[in-house]
Symmetry: C2
Subunit: 212 residues, 2 copies
């Protein structure tokens, strides 16, 4: 089986096949969604035969599962860690935004992917990522915000709104990228630069709003 192979270069130049497939699948799944994706498309994109696809991954669902979990499991724990870290609020905000923007440079398809899944079946999704009882608890961050309010370091604000605002400003531009690119007449480089700016801009925007 391929899974056991020690990733020896095959005759077809570029990398080992399994990764080629995974990359291709990621691309196709995230562009067309699970239902819209065709096994043939994935095979084509990976530059291989459809039979080989089934040789590596039994069926479409399995392939999707692998691609999807790989992505989500890599990323979600990261932001969860930031939320629950032991750092000052303003620092957390900056960490979150920075981490997220950087991740998107590598996996621009991820947010779309995740949103699709989360809309399809939220519970199933969460379960797959966090397992049985290991659900993420935004409680820590919410409490921290409440603390700051009580301590009078920031103005009175419902922690949930603040959290929503932060997450929304960070993620949405990537989800609606084509819209912004089109309406602000940006090319890819400009978009990247704008997102880079947001690493500073979003924290500033938030802090300016809530700091007393």
């Amino acid at each position: 089986m391929a899974k056991i192979s020690k990733s020896i270069k095959s005759k077809t130049g570029s990398g080992n096949t399994e990764d080629q497939i995974l990359d291709a699948a990621r691309k196709v799944f995230t562009t067309k969604g699970m239902a819209g994706a065709r096994m043939q498309d994935i095979a084509d994109e990976a530059g291989i035969n459809k039979a080989l696809l089934h040789y590596y991954f039994r069926d479409k669902e399995k392939l999707f599962e692998v691609v999807f979990l790989q992505e989500a499991q890599k990323f979600f724990p990261k932001i969860n860690a930031i939320f629950n870290a032991d750092a000052p609020l303003f620092e957390k905000i900056e960490n979150f935004v920075t981490e997220y923007v950087d991740e998107m440079a590598e996996s621009p398809y991820l947010p779309w992917f995740v949103l699709n899944e989360i809309n399809r079946d939220p519970d199933q999704f969460m379960y797959k990522i966090w397992g049985k009882e290991n659900v993420p608890k935004p409680g820590k961050l919410l409490e921290q915000i409440e603390q700051e309010v009580k301590a009078g370091r920031i103005r009175k604000i419902d922690p949930r709104h603040l959290m929503m605002n932060m997450i929304s400003m960070t993620i949405f531009p990537f989800v609606a990228r084509p819209m912004f690119v089109r309406n602000l007449r940006l090319n890819d480089k400009q978009f990247r630069e704008l997102m880079e700016e947001r690493k500073k801009e979003i924290p500033k925007f938030i802090i300016d709003s809530i700091r007393k």
Copy 2:
């Protein structure tokens, strides 16, 4: 043809068939996406026969097109109008948020729908909504923001970031609703209330951040 009929009640009690179909299609398309939707599902949801579906709308694509355009054309011009209106900046922000939140109460599926389309084929999408040269120009709002900066009424900020922030905070919670609902442990009523609060909260958040 049905389209010409003066909407006379047919034997099957509830309203005219065309609207039944449209409603059903809306529901199914927005839940499962264009590719995931089955004509049979739509027929079932509408409580009619599959053949009748094709009698009213030639094929799947046509039906999708109609449903989709109906929604988008109803809504997009509205926000465009707000952006280009002749009102003070802070008022515009409030108008935008209010209008959007209200619309979502009626069509909670719309943003998902639109994002799906816009990701599938941005140009095609924009063309369908705005036609040939009638593209929306966020220029007006962007300029207005720049004016306010120059006039010293708000702090220095790139208008594009401000616009992105506003749009993101408004739309994203609806797109990622299942995530927020789950993580903040909200029921439907609580979510609605939270969104209602955002009509005031978002403008306040923005204004607190940028007003000098």
